[in-house]
């Protein structure tokens, strides 16, 4: 059987002497038929360093399809299969072969091809004619239902390679003679130009292949007539869970539910008909790992007559993005509901909790006024304490409300001069305590972008504290300053008041945390918590430095002032 093929091959080769391209095909075709395997043919360049695959044949057209991108693309001999395994002789025979034993230096596309077809054994033979290495004939067995390649197969391959080598040499001679006849003068120029444009094409192809195979999006190419796949990249294989070997030559209807395939094909037709890119923002697709969502663009590729030849598709997997968007949407709804509830709660706190306090305070006062004659001093003292407690609670409620308002408020950055805010607050404080003598100063570049309302509340609290804690200083001093530290604007408000012990500095900004008794310095312990929240809302930080008896210094930053 095989021998019959060899004799047919011999006559086919001699007939093809005048048609070089047909000869190359005939060699691999005869080889593949004789040995029931894939046969490929590569030719050396003049230096013997580079080898270029020129033909491949297999009874299964899909194999040929998969090999096609490697054709006419020179690669280094030492990165080829035989170059890796037996570079010196150029001949190798491995009936049982494991891809994983190959070195890392094999050309990536060669490796991919071998792995795609699932090669299990091979024979390579270098074709030598008159001492010149012409090329390599490779027999790649991948049909595992067949017996492994044996010595007989090798003999046949040798024989074919011999025949092919001579046929090739003859064809070359013939071609050279023809070329010389055709135009002696321009022959060299023509071949130079040919070489140049060939190398440019090869370069462009290599570049394209590198992009296609490594881009993290599915890229596929369909021919325009039947819309069957002619090209498919690695990201596509991973997304669909289908190897390209199975995709090539088939259509969407072979892989997807009918309704889905109909949708895809309709979009393909639309793209080809309009000769225009079609964008499909969302489309579901069934894959080996369940339903995924794609954002796809389809582009027609037209020939020089303007007729659509191919359709190129590029798909991004947006499943995770869609899921995250939905989760974000839910979280936002949830936050909005929670915010509305908080709003209602705060309103009710503002209104309802204060009403009983008013009664406690009011009726205590009524007792003091109307029943003074029946209450001794102790009794009156108790009522005064009841009133004091009610009023203090009212203050706490008010401060907590302010804190919650700060949290709820929309952050609205505008140009704001902290110096102006500082002076306005000082004026108000001075008006309430005209007897106090306080030296104030605001220095540095205090103009920034922040929420004026919120920042005013923060400064009000900080300045109020400074004002309060300097009450006993002989000469009270309060200063606001700005300076740049490590590329960040830092604002500090320093006073020479009673200060605090740094050991407790971590407690300063908590709600209801106080470092002084109410008798020493009245307060609710909400002010600095409010400051902290305002600064946090701006994306800034606030910290405090202090020493007992030496004053305190509160510093803060305001985050990215370009933000909203």
């Amino acid at each position: 059987m095989a021998l019959t093929e060899v004799s047919i091959a011999a006559s086919a080769f001699s007939e093809s002497t005048t048609d070089y391209d047909e000869l190359l095909k005939a060699i691999t075709r005869s080889c593949a038929r004789a040995l029931k395997a894939t046969c490929t043919l590569g030719l050396f360049d003049e230096t013997g360093v580079m080898i270029t695959p020129v033909a491949a044949f297999d009874a299964d057209p899909r194999v040929v399809e998969v090999f096609a991108p490697m054709l006419h693309r020179p690669r280094r001999y030492d990165e080829s299969l035989v170059g890796q395994l037996s570079p010196a002789t150029g001949n190798a025979f491995l009936p049982a072969f494991d891809l994983t034993t190959l070195g890392p230096r094999i050309a990536p596309d060669t490796f991919r091809f071998l792995s795609d077809i699932g090669v299990s054994g091979f024979i390579t033979i270098t074709m030598r004619v008159r001492g010149e290495n012409l090329g390599i004939l490779s027999v790649l067995q991948h049909d595992r239902s067949r017996p492994p390649l044996d010595e007989f197969d090798r003999e046949i391959a040798n024989h074919l390679a011999n025949l092919a080598g001579f046929a090739l040499a003859n064809a070359r001679l013939f071609r050279r003679a023809q070329q010389e006849l055709a135009g002696r003068l321009s022959a060299e120029q023509v071949s130079e130009q040919l070489r140049e444009s060939e190398s440019r094409a090869v370069e462009a192809n290599l570049f394209l292949d590198a992009v296609l195979e490594n881009i993290p999006a599915m890229v596929f190419v369909k021919e325009a007539a039947q819309l069957s796949f002619v090209r498919f990249n690695r990201a596509g294989e991973e997304l669909l869970g289908i190897p390209r070997m199975e995709m090539i030559g088939k259509t969407d209807f072979d892989f997807f539910p009918t309704s889905e395939a109909e949708f895809f094909v309709a979009k393909d037709r639309e793209t080809l008909r309009n000769r225009h890119m079609v964008d499909i923002p969302e489309e579901p697709i069934q894959t080996a790992s369940g339903e995924r969502w794609l954002h796809t663009r389809k582009v027609p590729v037209v020939d020089d007559r303007g007729e659509p030849r191919y359709l190129v598709g590029i798909s991004h997997d947006i499943t995770d993005l869609k899921r995250d968007m939905a989760a974000l949407e839910r979280a936002r709804d949830h936050a909005e509901r929670a915010n509305a509830e908080l709003e209602a709660f705060s309103y009710s706190v503002a209104h309802d909790l204060r009403t009983p306090l008013r009664a406690i305070d009011g009726f205590s006062q009524a007792l003091l006024e109307d029943f003074a004659d029946r209450l001794d001093e102790t009794g009156q003292g108790y009522l005064t304490r009841v009133r004091g407690a009610a009023q203090r609670m009212a203050m706490l409620i008010d401060d907590l409300l302010k804190l919650s308002r700060v949290t709820r408020a929309q952050l609205n950055r505008q140009t704001v001069d902290l110096g102006d805010l500082f002076r306005a607050i000082v004026t108000a404080l001075q008006r309430d305590a005209p007897a106090r003598e306080v030296e104030v100063a605001a220095t540095g570049d205090l103009v920034t972008r922040a929420d004026p309302k919120l920042l005013s509340i923060a400064l009000d609290n900080l300045l109020g504290n400074a004002w309060k804690f300097t009450a006993r200083a002989p000469v009270a001093r309060i200063a606001l300053s700005a300076e740049d530290r490590d590329g960040e604007r830092v604002y500090c408000l320093a006073d020479n008041g009673v200060g605090f012990d740094m050991a407790y500095s971590h407690k300063l900004f908590g709600v209801f945390n106080r470092l002084h008794t109410d008798q020493d310095f009245p307060g609710t312990g909400v002010g600095l918590a409010t400051v902290h929240r305002i600064i946090s809302r701006h994306g800034g930080r606030v910290w405090a430095l202090g020493e007992v008896g030496k004053g305190a210094k509160f510093c803060f930053t305001l985050g990215d002032t370009r933000g909203p």
Binding site: P356, R358, A359, A394
Partner: protein, 145 residues
Amino acid sequence: MTDRVILLVEDNRDDEELTLRALAKSKITNPVVVVRDGVEALDWMFRRGTHANRADHEVPQVVLLDLKLPKIDGLEVLRELRANEATKLVPVVILTSSVEEQDLVRGYGLGANSYIRKPVDFTQFVEAVRQLGLYWLVLNEPIPR
């Protein structure tokens, strides 16, 4: 000339008592009519429902209006008063616990003449009522009857 009435719209008995006490302490002698929800306030003003048979045609010299009321809230009462020819010029002072910005804005937006937050400290409350009475009942010249 008899003093014109003050209409106090207040659902809380404690607040009612304290307001009356504060008015008395401020030497305000005008008669005070107390209504306890929004519906009753409107019924009284427009002489309908339980107040359909109210003898006089009197328009109060000032309405002291709480915001959080049963049935119809204070802002709704205010809206109706302002929408009606007979009552659109009656001085309305919102007297409430709330100091939420939205209430202030909506209150003034609907045509409130004044907005006072009831302080918890009764001493301050008396002072607030005294000033309120002084302004609306003594200094302010009412619209002729």
